[in-house]
Symmetry: C7
Subunit: 94 residues, 7 copies
């Protein structure tokens, strides 16, 4: 398992079906990864001067939108993950 | 639905009719998106040290002017949105 | 109407007659916009920690010199405006 | 007249006679503007938290050396001026 | 031995077997170094104003993921090492 | 005379004889200016909040090594000078 | 002698024998200077507000690893030196 450090979050990429307004699912090749991912694990939390840790606004399982170019890709045991600072997560998709 | 995080705002693009001074509506192709949008949803608000959240100067429904190159585009359920930091919103159009 | 946010100011461009020292007005094409504008409206003022707002050094009607590359152009109801941070306004022309 | 804002200064360019050591004045084309200017007017002074204004180290009439690339040129009523932050003025020439 | 200074960490590169999902080990040439390393030694710790030193979140032996382009390579006694600031270590692989 | 402002220093370039180890003085063309200069005058000193001025670590007459690309050249009354922030002076040559 | 200023350190370059694992010393041309140097002299130490000076973590004679591109080269009395900020020294080689 991967345990992020500080105020970082571990994400899995979410592939978004590219569908036209009328609902036709387009072929794989045009799958849009409109910088959307799913939260897998939370980090240790940023250390504050008094020794406490900052809480997170997101939780495992949340589908989120993140800033492009703000993730580090890594591959462990064959699985691909993204590691991102929480402040680069822009929104939660209910 | 998309819930922005922190002091961010969710916008929809507003297409501005390109009209000459004499009022003739020009064809689609020259529709100017002079960085104008409509507020759809407000974020959770920036967390202050005392745990309170910063209030917003804009509200849902406001037509606003924003800095170019300061938005992240995303597409959810077929709808296109812009996510922006409130400090990049320059003015409200009454 | 456009209401700037924070310590921003709404300007109109001022076209400066390009005249030689001897007073001959040169043709339109060489009209110099030596980054000079006229104040149209003041923003809401920057919020201070105690909730008060910062006052402005400029006022509507002032002719001002501003830093090049520091304005955002926008067009509303056919009129062109510039939106600028007050700190980028360099001087007032009496 | 031009009234600079904050800790800015209004300068006139000073053209320096390019002379060889033996005193021969070289033709116009090689007039060196080794970033030297003359102070024309002082700004309103930077506002401090207690409402007071920062004093200036230079005064009108001083010949000064300034950092290259740190001035904004403007032209008002046919006269060319430079507007500069005082901190970019490097030295006073007695 | 190499003793890092401040909040730095000494790492050894970890070569990751590039295997397809079905488990076939690919040839050397495609060994992926997906910015993964092993902690060899901790630094002296960042000095705080009261003279104490900041503790580390990682410990010797940990397998870690680090930001690309954030390490300095060095070679001592024939061994290759990476020196990195702890804040560039993104996660620990349990 | 030139009076630097703030924590700046006025330097003269020092031309360093390019000599081989065996002591042969090489021709003018390869005179190395390994960013070495001589202190000519000290500035007014940086103003502190309590109105006092910061002292200098260098004094007129010191031979010093300075960071490349950190000086502004100027020429007054036919003499060439360098103006530099004291923090860009790296060392004193005893 | 060269006396560095502030929290700077004077280094001499250390040439590292490029040897293969089996111990064969490679020719001069491939001498690796894997950014390793020897401490020659310590600076005056960074001035703190209370007038005291910051202590150094390194001492003359230490062999150290430093960040590439963080040194200024200079040559005095025929000897080549490197001047570096202590914070760019990454580790001490025991």
């Amino acid at each position: 398992m991967i345990k992020p450090l500080g105020q970082r979050v571990l994400l899995e990429k979410v592939e978004v079906e590219k569908t036209t307004v009328s609902g036709i699912v387009l072929p794989d090749s045009v799958k849009e990864e409109k910088n959307i991912g799913k939260v897998v694990a939370l980090g240790t939390g940023k250390k504050l001067d008094d020794g406490s840790r900052v809480e997170f606004d997101v939780k495992p399982g949340d589908r989120v939108v993140f800033s492009p170019y703000s993730t580090t890709e890594t591959k462990v045991d064959g699985n691909e993950y993204l590691i991102i600072e929480e402040k680069e997560i822009l929104a939660i998709i209910d």
